[in-house]
């Protein structure tokens, strides 16, 4: 019945493509046409948070922590309200993860403080005895990458129309404005930290990676909703 196909690699490949494409067309297209819309009041990530998100990605945090609260009572009791599609509208890429070696982080900003994260990243077992998470000392040494974070926010704005610089929202402006806002926001985090080296470095105008990462973790939750 199909034997003629087996003598013709070209038509065989075409036949394969047809059979193979059906699912993609049916499952993916409808949702892409209706592109993902943000929930009301969701603000985009600031440049400092974006820098922190890049660190979260580079260090592979998503390998052990999910950012997706599933609609079960045990999950909402443990982590907070279940996740909504519109909350991820500015997430490129998405960071749901596929394995929970540690707890979910989608609303971690609502339950943990700057101080807690600082201790946790320096020495996890100091706040969670028996934690198997590694310590992240190198984040306290390296500077966060402002330029790349600005580039990402700028791309989000001009290519994807993410609403920066709107009334009452997150302002981006040009690179100097963004740097000013970045330093101010970092200053607030640094104020809440204990590590003297981080504070000294900030006095010299350096923002360490840990500062940006904490800013990002704090943004996961209610603080990303404009009032």
């Amino acid at each position: 019945m199909f034997s003629w196909l087996e003598k013709n690699p070209f038509f065989f490949t075409v036949a394969f493509l047809v059979v193979f494409s059906i699912a993609g067309l049916v499952e993916l297209l409808p949702d892409f046409i209706k592109s993902s819309r943000p929930i009301e009041g969701l603000r985009p990530y600031t440049v400092l948070e974006t820098a922190g998100r890049q660190i979260y990605i580079n260090e592979g945090c998503y390998n052990c922590h999910s950012q997706l609260i599933r609609p079960f009572q045990a999950e909402t009791d443990r982590y907070g309200a279940y996740s909504l599609s519109g909350e991820y509208a500015y997430d490129r890429p998405f960071l749901w993860g596929s394995k929970r070696t540690g707890p979910d982080l989608h609303r971690v900003g609502d339950s943990r403080t700057t101080d807690w994260h600082e201790n946790h990243m320096w020495e996890p077992t100091s706040v969670v005895p028996d934690s198997i998470m590694p310590a992240y000392h190198h984040l306290f040494k390296k500077d966060a990458d402002f330029d790349t974070a600005y580039a990402e926010a700028y791309t989000q704005k001009v290519v994807f129309g993410v609403p920066y610089d709107t009334q009452g929202g997150v302002s981006l402006g040009n690179i100097e404005d963004a740097k000013k806002a970045y330093m101010q926001e970092a200053g607030e985090i640094v104020n809440n930290m204990k590590n003297q080296k981080i504070k000294d470095a900030f006095e010299k105008g350096e923002v360490k990676e840990i500062v940006a990462l904490i800013a990002y973790l704090n943004s996961l939750g209610q603080s990303r909703m404009t009032k």
Partner: protein, 488 residues
């Protein structure tokens, strides 16, 4: 179409891919063992500073095993069996030989760059698609070269009919090309803004859409590298080694075309109880269960090929590898659909059970098939008998026990995790804190590490056996038709 008396096949490219199969298999599995023990003994995270922390190593392990070990194995098989089933030889086609060499060396360059960039923490964080955008472009070049080699070889073939293995290789080639490109569509931020890192890019898709396209890819990397590529291998090597014809042509047809149609639908089972539309989740769940039919069709076709020939299991370790591979394929393709049932998924998702599932597939099915294929090719490529059958036997058992330890510990660990997360006391309050669930898993993580270590030791025995075959084994006068010659 001409008819030459006999063809002298050219194995130079297949040999290169055999070496990379061994090298990347060893590296990928070694990193895997380190990762396994890191979860039990967190101090192992610091053996090489920030570069050895779990989050950095894990993508190296997955990429090393998928793109280093498995693809090398598939390509070693292609450059070996492609000539044989198409009745061509690269001695007569210098262009195809050149493409083959270019394919291999660019692939090695790509893998080296991949290792360096992943160690450096340069990643786009999508699982099994972590490579940064310039490397993605190189992936496309390497892939196109394989396409030229494959379709070019078919263009000059002397055999009218395309053998089943090549159906599956065509499927692997075409499907991965489509899926990889769509999932990796991204915008390099430097090109838009003129500042920042040239390596950084952001996905074309956001949030739930990004997740859907990622798991459409992530699931089908399993479908078209770990499944169709490996089925292509076993459809050649099992009949060749056993000297038995494939059980049923109709079953082959049925399982090929239905696998190709059904597999992609099942990608949605990775996003059950997430924020993607319900109907997508349901389709993913339902089609995952349907997927049992074509998967078992293939496995049964392999097992029934051995009908009346089961004594070969006793006589040949190579047959043992191939038969157990088919059996593990049946196990993995039954387990997957069970996990995709919504109520089971509610428990299993995000737990170690999923890790166990992936590994009974990869260690049992993929690893064993590739190892068997290498053993079958060796005497024919090097004109020597396999150095030691005893080592093969020891390797087989040590690896099998390793796999059993691996998946059984992960089943227990995963189900324990899932049960503890959802457990509530008589007042409806959560019984356990998250850290409680971490604490109880320690023994299972140790057992898993030992299982992985045993598999790695088996793989080292394999490498030793291959090297000794190439350098020291008895030379053969002529190629045997089936049943690879092996020393005691």
């Amino acid at each position: 179409m001409r008819n030459d008396a006999t063809l002298e096949y050219d194995y130079s490219i297949a040999k290169l891919f055999l070496y990379s199969t061994m090298a990347f298999g060893f590296i990928g599995m070694l990193i895997g063992v380190v990762l396994a023990f890191q979860l039990a003994f967190p101090d192992l995270n610091y053996i090489a500073g920030e570069y050895s922390i779990f989050g950095r190593l894990r993508p190296l392990h997955t990429n090393g095993v998928i793109y280093g070990f498995t693809l090398s194995g598939i390509w070693a098989a292609w450059y070996y069996l492609g000539q044989r089933v198409l009745k061509i030889t690269y001695y007569q086609h210098p262009f195809l030989k050149f493409i083959g060499y270019l394919h291999f060396w660019l692939y090695i360059v790509l893998l080296v760059l991949a290792v360096v960039s992943l160690f450096a923490g340069l990643t786009q964080s999508k699982e099994y698609a972590e490579l940064i955008w310039p490397l993605d472009l190189l992936v496309v070049v390497v892939w196109v070269l394989w396409g030229i080699s494959m379709f070019g070889s078919m263009g000059v073939r002397r055999e009218k009919t395309i053998y089943i293995s090549l159906w599956y290789f065509i499927a692997t080639f075409t499907a991965i090309a489509v899926l990889y490109i769509f999932n990796n569509l991204a915008i390099p931020t430097y090109l838009v803004s003129g500042v920042g890192s040239i390596w950084h890019s952001i996905s074309m898709f956001s949030g739930s859409n990004d997740a859907m396209i990622q798991w459409w890819w992530g699931h089908n990397a399993v479908a078209f590298v770990f499944t169709s590529g490996i089925i292509g291998i076993i459809y050649y090597f099992l009949p060749k080694e056993s000297g038995q014809p494939i059980f049923s042509y109709k079953l082959t047809l049925f399982s090929f075309w239905s696998l190709m149609f059904v597999y992609i639908w099942a990608g949605g089972h990775h996003v059950i109880y997430s924020t993607v539309p319900d109907w997508v989740q349901t389709l993913g769940s339902v089609f995952s269960v349907i997927l049992i039919l074509p998967s078992w069709g293939t496995a049964i076709n392999m097992l029934l090929t051995m009908r009346g020939q089961w004594h070969q299991l006793k006589e040949s370790p190579l047959i043992k590898f191939l038969v157990l591979a088919s059996t593990f394929y049946m196990l993995a393709t039954l387990e997957g659909p069970i996990q995709a049932i919504k109520s089971v998924n509610a428990l299993a998702h995000f737990t170690d059970w999923i890790i166990g599932h992936v590994h009974d597939g990869v260690l049992g099915w993929v690893g064993f098939t590739i190892i068997a294929a290498c053993y079958h090719m060796l005497p024919r490529m090097y004109k020597r008998e396999i150095y030691s059958r005893k080592i093969m036997d020891i390797q087989f058992w040590i690896m099998t026990i390793g796999i059993v330890l691996y998946f059984s510990s992960m089943w227990i660990s995963g189900i324990t995790q899932g049960m503890m997360w959802r457990d509530v006391d008589q007042y409806g309050n959560l019984t356990y804190q998250f850290i409680d669930t971490v604490r109880v898993l320690f023994p299972y993580y140790v057992i898993r590490g030992i299982g992985g270590l045993m598999y790695l030791i088996g793989f080292i025995l394999f490498i030793y056996n291959v090297v000794m075959t190439i350098t020291a084994a008895k030379e053969l006068e002529r190629e045997s038709n089936y049943a690879s010659p092996m020393a005691a």
